[in-house]
């Protein structure tokens, strides 16, 4: 048993921390979010040059052959800096789906451009009726002479505004709620018949609703087995959920640190407010909430490394605990910052908004608690 990081992992962690500290200060981040594009291409190129975009991919695919621990380390650091550049949508989701489901030709065609930063990717799975049930999919792909014809709509596509390539989840057979009959397709974001409606989210993301009207796809757009997408989607979402929870840990730890620092310097009634026991005990509660969430993340990661499915119940549990503890932490952070806590100027509220979006992504606490109960309490 050990909870140590390898030398490489520490180097990646330090390198991202340095980037956040030197290049991604709060004013810079604000300017990025306020810009039309909502991300900085030159930063994305930096990520590529520093090798961060290659880490999860196998060496055969031109990557670094990193593990889930590497992904966790990267995402936690990105969370600390509230980095909005689309690591999760492009590398973990789009790249992850191509790497797992793609043929050798598809991987060779797509992954090098993910790794060198020239492809900006997204995974389109949410539909307006689906909430958190990924297999609730009404978008359909019908087989045609030259391949497939895609019709339907995806909503809240992360990185949907900026991506140039998409993986789309679509039904090739079966009914709306069936887990079988779903397939994945690689779709060019400028394909004919595809229309994007972009809008900003509270956490700085630029997302899109994307409609597909008779989008013609070649046969080799199919990623993986026709009708069998859910197996690989489950695998990638499992990994992406752990990644997202690591980002949440980064956000929560930073909120706690900033709040603690503030209460040591902010004076009222002639003394630092951190000297008040009522506030001290609340900061102990948030510290424990953070440590507990981190422990459960480590449990999920350790189980995942033994065999990914083994982590499923723990990932459900982790979504529940992070949801609950993040709410406590950002709630207290805002409250203890007083009036400043509710300003747009201060970063505190922005960490809160990111945590709220993280909590709802891939299912909220209510959803995951029910999934946990199914696994834990079935007769």
């Amino acid at each position: 048993m050990n909870f140590d990081f390898t030398e490489e992992q520490q180097m990646v962690r330090d390198s991202i921390a340095r980037f956040v500290q030197d290049d991604y200060d709060w004013e810079t981040r604000k300017a990025i979010v306020a810009s039309d594009k909502g991300m900085r291409d030159d930063f994305w190129q930096t990520f590529a040059e520093l090798g961060w975009l290659s880490i999860p991919f196998s060496e055969a695919d031109g990557g670094f052959g990193g593990s889930i621990v590497d992904t966790m380390v990267i995402m936690e650091e990105l969370g600390k800096g509230l980095v909005v550049e689309p690591y999760l949508p492009t590398v973990v989701l789009f790249g992850g789906l191509v790497a797992r489901a793609g043929s050798e030709a598809q991987r060779a065609a797509l992954l090098p451009s993910v790794i060198d930063g020239s492809t900006s990717g997204a995974f389109a799975w949410v539909e307006r009726q689906s909430r958190f049930e990924i297999s609730d999919c009404a978008t359909r792909a019908e087989a045609s002479d030259e391949g497939y014809v895609l019709n339907g709509e995806k909503v809240v596509v992360f990185n949907g505004a900026n991506c140039n390539q998409l993986v789309v989840l679509a039904r090739t057979s079966g009914d709306q709620f069936d887990r079988d009959g779903l397939s994945l397709f690689v779709v060019d974001a400028n394909a004919e018949g595809l229309e994007r409606f972009t809008y900003p989210m509270m956490d700085g993301q630029k997302v899109a609703n994307i409609t597909f009207k008779n989008v013609h796809l070649p046969a080799d757009a199919l990623l993986g087995t026709a009708g069998g997408a859910m197996t690989v989607v489950d695998e990638v979402v499992r990994e992406a959920t752990i990644a997202l929870m690591a980002e949440a840990i980064g956000c929560m730890g930073t909120l706690n640190a900033k709040t603690l620092e503030y209460t040591k310097t902010r004076e009222q009634f002639g003394t630092a407010i951190g000297s008040f026991q009522a506030l001290q005990h609340r900061m102990v509660d948030t510290m424990m909430a953070y440590e507990q969430a981190k422990s459960l993340l480590y449990k999920a990661v350790c189980e995942y490394q033994e065999s990914p499915e083994k982590a499923d119940a723990t990932i459900n549990a982790l979504k529940v605990l992070v949801d609950r503890n993040a709410k406590l932490i950002y709630g207290e952070a805002i409250q203890l910052h007083g009036g400043m806590g509710i300003t747009d100027e201060l970063d505190i509220g922005h960490y809160a908004k990111r945590l709220m979006m993280i909590n709802t992504t891939f299912g909220d606490a209510t959803y995951h608690r029910a999934r946990y109960a199914e696994k834990a309490y079935a007769a």
Binding site: N2, L260, Q292, K299
Partner: protein, 392 residues
Amino acid sequence: MDTAFSAEDLAFRDEVRAFFDEQFTDELVGRLRGKNFKEAIVDWQRRLYDRGWIAPNWPVEFGGTGWTPTQKYIFETERSERGIPGTVPFGLNMVGPVIYQFGTQEQKDHFLPRILKSEDWWCQGYSEPGAGSDLASLKTKAVRDGDDFIINGAKIWTTYAQYADWIFVLVRTSSEGKKQEGITFILVDMKSEGIKVNPIISIDNEHSLNEVEFSNVRVPASNVVGEVDKGWTVAKALLAHERTSIADVAQSKRNLRLIKEAARQEINGGKALIDDPGFQARMADIEIELMALEFTELRTLAAMQAGGFPGPESSLLKIKGTELQQATQELRMEVAAYYQGVLPTDLDPEVLGHSFGAEARRNFMYGRASTIYGGSNEVQKNIIAKFVLGLE
């Protein structure tokens, strides 16, 4: 980062299982539940001693096992899954570690082997009627008289004082300076003249607590652990050792397993309690927090392996561990429904109609103590605020 069991770990687990299967007999279980609890638990502790497994947390040179954190985790898990009680903490988890950390060679040579062999039963003389959370305000006085100290005062909430051969006591040897200064940590033979034990019946209707009075009790100065007037350092170290063992995650895990089993048997209008979404939600909330705490404990064990002694983080384990114990005890009471109110009775469970109501009640009631003892959870939060968060 990994927690996978190695081949050695798995072999160790087999060894532990075989030992428990062979030594923790039904006959012993019966005796542990009976009136001769002391004799039965001492018998069990001697079996552990004979196997060399009595003090997993002690350094090897003093009789510890030299286990890795993983091995300790395996041992604790296997133990609690069988419902095997933990060892009595006062000697093994409290005074033993401070004797090997602060004691003289004579003290180590005399007391440590006797603790390991369960030859002495220890109890804890910390709290006083006027010194609870504010432990340092204690007033029990020790005055130097030649080679001895003369002790006068009273200690309270002393668990199992009625069984004890020895008591470790915090006494005031000086009233100069801060109240934390002038405290001395001293070992007292319970057979000394002038000691009187008064029972206190607790909320669970049992007698485990006592008041211990000291009237001109004469104790050799060689029984002081650490320096005279510097006992606060010793006292705090002992509390840190105590706290890490209070969390008892493995025990709460077992309780949740028992609750799950019972909730399958309890039927409301034809539907099992375990299938009630409201019940599932409450159970899941506790179980999830416990899963996390198990890893918090493992992280602490791993850090201790590197650093030696537990630090203020042990306060976190104490707070969360006891909160979850109570949440679990409360849930078990609710599963027992009407039978949660059953007092000790000679009626057979067959006649009574229930098997665990009385036990659930006793655990729940005595369990209220866990957030109070070892330094109340509010005091733990003060400790974390000061020593971990750096708030003054």
